[in-house]
Symmetry: C2
Subunit: 388 residues, 2 copies
């Protein structure tokens, strides 16, 4: 952050994630918007700007201009617009909102992440929508899918570091377990390693249970400057850092298949600017769009040693009672992955954990908490660090 | 602006607008990006962030995640993302970039507006893409199109204020004339009132020549803080104000058919915060997506008296040698309207005018210059004020 001003999260709202067939996208948005407003009796006139993170309303539903649409149907009359960075849309919207506050705003801003993916009536429509986040010319049109690209990363990680198929499956087992303790999660069923390994093959070595499902949902946070925050909350949760890192969009353009270089860049910059190290992070929400992504993410973030992500997961280090709990919410895999909403939902999980409101998922003695969101196969990475 | 810090435009780049069939969208983007960098020998490493304004690459070309894609193919390695607000996408991207600088950045940021619309092989694909900026449920699915909604506004303006069909056509005549003096314009042919009135009927009373064409193009600007700007330019052009106004997305939800209330709100706020009035504006670029929109815009901006927009156009008040020249570039109508690029192209026209580099279109004695960009039928409005 330029002036290193921390920005407070003062209220949050979130729908259950899943198949919300009874709501239009504006209805889903309203549930999250009004939960965040009503929690602190914030009037809608107090919201200065609405930042909407969304991956593909145009692709899933033929509706663009989503900022203006959602503001209209929420009864908000403030500036509103959409930010798109594939799976990182919500996190990038958050980063711009933080800069909006830091630019000198003395009012409140709202970030809404929202996606309605189950509207796509045919499976291939949804797959095409997801594939639009890849390099259309050099990946999608050559036959690559999200699953096949992450499968390449999984194979490379297994070869380079001896990571086993079972270790990768343990990410799924852990995240389903955590989701079973999260009332808003899409999947509350626990799974075993054997169920993952016996599920339908998507792209060798990745199987159906290694992937996120399509999901509907919305998540919103209200942000304020430090000065303003204390009039709403005597002990606010702050976003200390929010950094964005770059990697080339297509997998074949990158130097390594087993590292998210943009994630590493953003995390190291965040730690450095705060004067902390990865060891000061008590828990993290990471972008587990496929199981293998969580393993590569925790290594790239420096939370576990490079090459040891699979072993750490198998050993239970990343479990709720482990040394560095990862995806206590259930992650994209267990909690659900309405794409634009995921980056904001991560912030809500960290907020609840820091406030001590995470119920059966509660982690003790939190120093700092980290959120990691990605677009595509890692071309965009956003790393945020929260704390009191 | 929160801290009321002005932000400098230090360099610009723009393609010709039109049918750029020989380039991919990334190629079009590169032309504008590298013109802006090369003009001042700016190294690409000096760019801290890339803000991409684009309406519909997913709809026109099946490609999303455009920020990451364009950064990759431009060889930029900075944070990049897309901002979408229908026709105002470029202007909203600019507004966020201004806030990015105001948040304390000591580096350069680039705003790129880009659209490739001629890739849509069938006319109805392009129309569906444009219609995605309307309220899908309550406008598009009921049969409304952009043209029919602006036709309703035209009828209402004619009834309420006695505006004539010929006066509206004069907008087109003027903007084609101005475009004929602009080397980068799509349409360099001059037209007469009779040609407009004899062109194909789109939606009564609007005809083909009242509408913008599909267009490809890109426009980019490099922004810097006031402090940083002077090391690049001893006499910089500043963005003094950039305000965004809201109106409900659908036309039937608005109080008036003959005013852009969000435009009025944003303009009045900008004038007030600067301590000026509309009389201090020497020229303006406005969002003439249909001819009637220019008439309503100049009234809503306070540049002409309410109801007098048609008469002012007919009298020549808005011509190059008039009292308040409008769309000296040729506007969306004459210069071309690659949607995401238009909001940035407006800033480049004002920059050139203020710098005295507008060639045969040059306006003398400029105090302040205004840009007005809209999304949809006016649900989103952005008003910027530039000067030395």
């Amino acid at each position: 952050m330029g002036k290193n001003e921390k920005v407070a999260v003062i209220s949050t709202g979130m729908t259950e994630f899943g198949d919300l067939y009874e709501y239009e996208i504006t209805g889903i948005a309203n549930l999250a918007i009004y939960e965040a407003l009503n929690n602190l009796h914030i009037k809608k006139e107090e919201i200065e700007s609405l930042y909407v993170g969304n991956m593909g309303s145009h692709l899933f539903e033929g509706q663009e201009n989503l900022g203006n649409l959602i503001a209209t149907y929420a009864g908000l009359t403030c500036p509103a617009f959409k930010i798109q960075a594939a799976g990182a849309s919500g996190a990038v919207a958050l980063r711009n909102a933080v800069k909006g506050i830091q630019s000198g705003s003395k009012e409140l801003v709202m970030v809404l992440g929202v996606e309605k993916m189950t509207e796509a009536t045919k499976q291939h429509e949804a797959q095409l929508a997801l594939a639009s986040g890849l390099d259309t010319n050099w990946e999608t049109r050559m036959g690559a899918t999200l699953a096949s690209l992450f499968a390449i990363m999984a194979r490379a990680h297994m070869r380079e570091y001896g990571t086993t198929r079972e270790q990768i499956a343990n990410v799924v087992v852990k995240n389903h377990y955590n989701a079973s303790l999260n009332p808003k999660a899409q999947y509350k069923n626990r799974v075993r390693v054997e169920s993952v390994l016996r599920s339908k093959l998507l792209s060798d070595p990745l199987r159906l249970f290694d992937a996120c499902a399509l999901s509907d949902g919305a998540a919103s946070v209200v942000l304020a400057s430090e000065e303003v925050a204390y009039s709403y909350d005597s002990d606010p949760v702050f976003i200390y850092q929010i950094k964005q890192g770059f990697a080339p969009i297509a997998l074949h353009q990158r130097e390594s298949l087993t590292e998210f270089s943009g994630t590493k860049f953003a995390a190291e910059k965040a730690y450095r600017d705060m004067g902390i190290t990865a060891a000061d992070i008590s828990l993290a929400e990471v972008h587990d769009i496929f199981s293998i992504a969580e393993i590569i993410a925790i290594e790239s973030l420096g939370l576990v040693e490079k090459g040891k992500g699979g072993f750490a997961t198998e050993n239970g280090d990343t479990a709720l009672d482990g040394s560095i709990p990862i995806n206590t919410s259930g992650g994209l895999k267990g909690r659900g992955a309405p794409l634009g909403a995921t980056g904001v939902a991560q912030i809500i999980e960290l907020f609840d954990q820091i406030k001590g409101n995470a119920g059966d998922r509660q982690i003790k003695d939190i120093k700092y908490a980290l959120a990691h969101s990605m677009g595509g196969t890692g071309g965009t990475s956003v790393v945020s660090i929260l704390g009191r």
